[in-house]
Amino acid sequence: MQKIYFFIGTKAQAIKCIPLINLFLTKPNLSVVIVDSGQHTTITESIFQNFKHEITHINLFSNKENISKYSKGIVWVGKFFLKNIIFKTLKNNTIENQSICVVHGDTVSTILGLFWGKRNKCKVIHLESGLTSNSLFNPFPEEIIRRITSRLSDILICFDPDSYLRLKNKLKRKLILQVNENTIIETLGDLDNQKINKKDIITATLHRTENILSKKRLISFVKLLEKLSKSYKINWYLHEPTINSINKFNIKLSNNITTSNLISHEDFINQLKDSKIVVTNGGSIQEEC
């Protein structure tokens, strides 16, 4: 059987790959394997725990907590490279029975998946390829990761015409497919027959490095939420690195802002449906909106 490895490290990667995983699982000649990089291990584990199909899992980095601090992240990348890319490869992965490794987006797990796939002689498919900010260091390191992954992957899948044309012009010899919609649309159910009741709620998230490592930017975000809280109920869903930054900079949040940890994807989608406004720097959330 031909093996399809889905290299996953973050919540967004897991959710956006699930429609493709479900489809591949229906094909008798394909064997689906989830490869967990260990980046957000508790989140991705909880997503696949409730999965309706049984799938083979490979955990490449055993850790009990998510990587939420930059110092831990550097150690994780170093150990991952030594253990899984330099010294160890998969057994019985011959070129005759060509395996495929699917990587997604622009996270650190994306580039680790690229190197892991290449090391194990897989054809690498890059999902959500071709997006760009046109600035190499912004956002950092996402922009650099996406460019390297696009350049080194075998098949590029993009979800909008701009990305397709950009990739076609720059990487003329690559196999590039433009799909009309992002796979995330398949996770949202039948949108035409859903009742949406908007309430005076604002849903907020903030997790990008450039926003949470800058005290000035983080404070201005909190001030914005405080202003909006005069007219709306604010629900701010906090990522672990964001909590760390709020504590580090000793930022006091007003009682009008309700904070909570991240919730399941299904609950979050329901929250978005109820909200009149969404304030976020997350690309996937913008697509879901």
């Binding site: 429609p19 493709l20 489809l23 094909k27 498919i125 497919l177 009309n180 796979t183």
Partner: protein, 53 residues
């Protein structure tokens, strides 16, 4: 003579364009029904990255 040749060439071009439009329309109708995942799967299958059932 030249005028006739031009006319026939023009007709062939128009016919080809029309056929191409029809083909694109059919493809669009097809694409509307399939999900992004199915589109990706079909592409991999057509390019022989995935082996047939």
């Amino acid at each position: 003579m030249n005028k006739n040749m031009y006319k026939s060439k023009f007709n062939i071009e128009n016919s080809l364009l029309f056929l191409l439009e029809q083909k694109n329309k059919k493809i669009n109708i097809k694409n509307e029904k399939i999900t992004p995942s199915e589109e990706i799967y079909n592409y991999l299958l057509n390019n022989k990255f995935i082996l047939n059932d």
